[in-house]
Amino acid sequence: MDQKQRSSFTYPPRNNSPKESFNPNYDYPQFNSQNRTESPYTPSQFFNSQAREWDPHALLSNLSFLEQKIHQMQNIVREMIRTNEGQNCNTSELTAQRQLLTTDLTSTIIQLISTAGSFLPTIRTSLLSGNAPIPQLGSSILSASSAPSPSAYQPNPSPDYEELTKGWGENVVESAGQIQIEDLDVKEGEDVGQDGDTLPIGSYEVLQLEKEEILAPHTHFCTICGKGFKRDANLRMHMRGHGDEYKSPAALAKPAREPGSQPIPVKRYSCPFVGCKRNKEHKNFQPLKTLLCVKNHYKRSHCEKSYTCSRCNTKKFSVLADLKTHEKHCGRDKWLCSCGTTFSRKDKLFGHVALFQGHTPALPSDEVKGKNEEINDKDDSGGVGYNDGDEYLDMKGGYFSPMVNFDSFSFEGLDEFSRTTFDPTENSFSFLRSGSPDFARKDPGN
């Protein structure tokens, strides 16, 4: 993600807008799974502070920046159309442009969401007091997040906040028109395996992150420049650039837990997708163990598979790592059955052949094809006929040296008898070594 941001254009105009207001999360401590539950804020404090710091000027400047960005993208698209019509399609150039567009779109969406995020808490206060038209806004966020590239959302800090948004999200789902809920937990077995220990229900705390939170590329943000990071350690490294006060060993050290604090309860995660087996509402709820499990599960099960394998162009993945794993063995070692089914692994092919009657493993097609061509070549040049006598006689070509007396050979057999007069010498039978199986077995020459 860092690379994408660097490759596109400059980051939000932070100079002409108060940073705090641009990103409401700046006020919070850095969030990770540990300190999230320890968050000292109460909901009321939280919302009050948010409400107090919301600035319409900042919102306006953000929106104008977005407008500018959309113009830029329009220009790029026009350019692409122009080159396409010019028929001089340079594919590498085209893909570069496409990539640029994707990154731009992504960052725009991030911007939009973060802008909306800064706006949200204020609305939510009004939501608490009375029914505002929130569902519409919620659904717009939903549709934004279902864009082809993984969309981002500012991480929501406290569980209390989560509680609030959860109810809200459920509202959204219901109002979005009864989405057919299926239990499409594709990699369920894997997730179960990751769980390892099965804790008794109630012995752990269940956390549920929102989908935007799950899909956010970064969870740690710089309070000064707003840059996002996947890891807290990377952020601390980054902070050194902002001044000497961040270079002290204490600032660089991993934030330690307070010694006197209560032992952290065991945490398990719930998938926000209602109806999923990993959702805590499910009757056979199976919690996810780590944040990574949540991320991978959500992407695999409830997101569009946006990564397509460039080799086979059929396999699609929603997790980039899955695509990379697939690409490692895609296209190599095609194991083929006579029924036309292909397998990536030999043991799978043999399992298939063992299961079905009449199926046989097929040899690699290019090899067989080569051999067939060879036969055809011979047919053309030498006239090899295997079928009947006439063609048979044609076979005494150059490569048929061992059969010397083919001229005299006739298929009728009767003529042959009359020609073969009784030969008193031993020679005519010399080629017959033995007439009995017994002798052949005992033949010491073998």
Binding site: K346, D347, F350, V353, A354, G358, H359, T360, P361, L363, E367, V368, K371, I375, V384, Y386, N387, D388, Y392, M395, Y399, F400, P402, M403, V404, N405, F406, S408, F409, S410, F411, E412, G413, E416, F417, T420, F422, P424, E426, N427, F429, S430, F431, L432, R433, S434, G435, S436, P437, D438, F439, A440, K442, D443, P444, G445, N446
Partner: protein
């Protein structure tokens, strides 16, 4: 048959003279003639004589023949039109067999052919096999072994033969699981599969065979990379009787210890050279395969026999091979206690075998039939007395190089083992008295008394007089033997097929004259018999028409005359060793006319010129292996050598200095024993 043939000819001539068209043979019905033909199996020339009687006999013989082993390919088309009902075709002697030939065979013998053996034949590819698969729908057996370059295509072609029952693909190194998978999926009736030495075959392929071919009775996966993974599937085969996994280094103890189910039908298991097998694994398989009869543990150096004491006495094992294993007296004791129905035991090259161990075994197993104690150098007459006193029904006894035995022991053999058919006393301290007592074994078929320097005619003559069934006699370096002894053998043993008289320096042409009476003789080794000349060889050639192997190395008196006789009579000769003989170009050329000749060793032939040699090589179409002195390599045109090689012949260029004399047998034996001590 010889006299009868002559009679036939005479009768035909008489009939012609009298202008009488009706032959007395015409009155015999076909059934009678077929019955006669059924019995004409011992000598292939008999059938030939039969077919020469008349045209109807000729036709009948053509209809009757089912087996064919052609020596050359050039006459094959006419042969196959004559013998149209051949069902078993053995092409192992035809080294250069092309796809076109296979295609013609396929179209000529389409419905009758059931078995074809292509082992060792070169030049054919999968296309030929595909022709067979297409035309010969009754084919049940195929042998494509020893084709290192054949790959999965051939296996795939075999997989198209639905009726296929027996497949041998030994040493087809390029065959992989895919090929085996094709056979497994395509041949549901498979009963025998040999993939010995197919290094590309792994668990997957073998497993598929076990899953698909439920009728499998015999499986040979020797020298492949299989591991324990395929064993459960194999053990579930309901009809498996024979399982051979020699030299499977991937098989270890766990393979059998963890096996849940054994195979009830399994009778023979060969685990020789499985170096990672140890006691617990062997014990486990014995417990899981209750009907096992043959067990081969040769060269499983980690197996200790004493583990067998853990077995119940219900063990049905009848034949055990422990060659080269750690064997102790206590181990043999537990073996004898647990394997109550033991019939065959092989302990060759087990250094731990002592008199005590042998006595323990013999006390329990009185109906032992075969015993092999080759190279058990510590056993003495005491063992022999234990063996002979209890095992009177012994049929085969091999005790090569048991040097501590004395004539008293051999006398016991002669006294107590009248059923003995096979006896190997090579390199023992056998003397005339002992040999004479062996004459009591009237059923002897094979007697090997090579390197017994003390025996003379006095010992051999009684053998010839009382062992009429003798077929194999090995007198290698038995220097005391002379023509007299050999004449007794020739008189008394008409079924003799093999005789080795190498370095019996007292043998002369007379011996060969006597031996020419043995019409079934096919292997004659007279290496280093300096008195033998062309006369003797000529007599043998004329008398023993089945001669297939002849070793006349260092018989300096043998010259072109012998070669002419061989060329005239010995149409079955396929291997000859001519080094140091006085043969010239002419003799060599005569010999080269023999179409059957495949293997020639000719070093130090002073009378042969490079030109003669080249001509002979060109003429001899059937050659597969030639050993020559490396000095000829430069004088024979490179192109000619390549041409001969392209016909399927391989050259072995030897560099050995010319030896004027050879050491005496006493010295030679002393040297070989010194070698052992070191």
């Amino acid at each position: 048959m010889e006299p009868e043939k002559r009679m036939d000819k005479r009768i035909r001539v008489d009939l012609n003279l009298e202008q009488n068209p009706i032959s007395p043979f015409e009155s015999l019905s076909e059934e009678v003639l077929f019955l006669i033909l059924d019995l004409l199996n011992s000598n292939p020339l008999d059938r030939k004589s039969f077919s020469l009687v008349s045209r109807s006999f000729y036709k009948l013989e053509s209809c009757h023949r089912r087996w064919l082993t052609p020596l050359r390919l050039d006459l094959l088309p006419s042969i196959l039109t004559r013998y149209s009902s051949i069902s078993h075709l053995n092409l192992t002697l035809c080294s250069r067999l092309t796809d076109v030939t296979l295609a013609s065979i396929a179209s000529l013998l389409s419905s009758s052919l059931r078995s074809i053996n292509l082992s060792g034949s070169r030049s054919y590819t999968h296309k030929g096999i595909e022709c067979l698969a297409e035309k010969c729908f009754n084919l049940e057996e195929i042998d494509v072994s020893i084709r290192v370059d054949l790959g999965d295509e051939v296996a795939a072609a075999i997989g198209k033969m639905v009726k296929m029952e027996r497949v041998n693909m030994g040493r087809c190194k390029k065959v992989t699981d895919l090929g085996i998978g094709c056979i497994a999926a395509g041949c549901p009736n498979l009963k025998l599969l040999c993939v010995k030495g197919c290094v590309g075959v792994t668990d997957l392929g073998v497993k598929l065979v076990a899953v698909k071919c439920r009728k499998l009775q015999s499986l040979d996966v020797s020298f492949t990379m299989i591991t324990k993974k395929c064993l459960p599937a194999i053990m579930q085969l309901p009809n498996l009787e024979e399982f051979c996994m020699t030299g499977c280094l991937g098989i270890d103890n766990k393979a059998f210890v963890n096996l849940k189910q054994g195979c009830n039908s399994l009778q023979a298991l060969d685990m020789s050279n499985c170096e990672h097998m140890t006691d617990s694994g062997v014990l486990s398989i014995l417990q899981k395969c209750p009907n096992l009869y043959h067990l081969n543990l040769a060269s499983c150096s980690s197996v200790n026999v004493s583990i067998l004491s853990g077995l119940k006495s219900m063990c049905k094992l009848g034949s055990i091979k422990l060659d080269g294993c750690k064997v102790t007296a206590s181990g043999l004791k537990s073996l004898s206690n647990s394997c109550i129905s033991l019939k065959e035991l092989s302990l060759s090259k087990c250094p731990g075998v002592t008199d005590e161990g042998i006595s323990v075994i013999m006390a329990k197993h009185k109906d032992l039939v075969k015993l092999d104690v080759t190279c058990c150098r510590y056993i003495t007459d005491e063992s022999l007395s234990a063996i002979t006193s209890s095992c009177t029904s012994l049929v085969s006894l091999r005790m090569e190089s048991c040097t501590k035995l004395s004539s008293e022991g051999f006398r016991l053999i002669g006294q107590h083992c009248p059923k003995l058919e096979e006896l190997d006393l090579t390199d023992n301290d056998l003397d005339d008295e002992g040999l004479r007592s062996l004459a009591n074994c009237h059923n002897l078929v094979s007697l090997k008394i090579g390197i017994c320097l003390r025996i003379t005619d006095n010992g051999l003559i009684p053998i010839g007089q009382s062992c009429p069934r003798l077929r194999e006699l090995d007198l290698y370096r038995a220097i005391g033997i002379t023509d007299k002894g050999v004449s007794a053998i020739a008189d008394g043993c008409p079924h003799l097929e093999m005789i080795n008289m190498a370095y019996c320096t007292n043998i002369s042409d007379e011996s060969l004259k006597f031996l020419s009476k043995c019409s079934k003789l096919c292997i004659v080794e007279i290496r280093g018999c300096l008195q033998v000349s062309s006369v003797g060889i000529s007599v043998i050639a004329a008398g023993c028409r089945l001669l297939s192997k002849l070793d006349v190395k260092k018989c300096c008196e043998v010259n072109d005359a012998a070669m002419f006789s061989l060329a005239r009579y010995s149409h079955n000769l396929c291997q000859i060793h001519l080094s140091y003989c006085s043969v010239t170009d002419a003799g060599l050329l005569a010999l080269a006319c023999l179409g059957s000749l495949r293997n020639v060793t000719m070093l130090h032939l002073s009378g042969v010129s490079p030109k003669g040699l080249a001509t002979a090589l060109l003429m001899c179409h059937g050659l597969t292996k030639v050993k020559m002195h490396s000095s000829f390599k430069s004088s024979i045109p490179r192109a000619l050598i390549e041409h001969v090689e392209s016909r399927g012949c391989s050259f072995h260029w030897m560099y050995k200095p010319f030896q004027v004399d050879f050491e005496s047998s006493e010295l030679w034996k002393q040297q070989s024993h010194d070698l052992f001590v070191e």
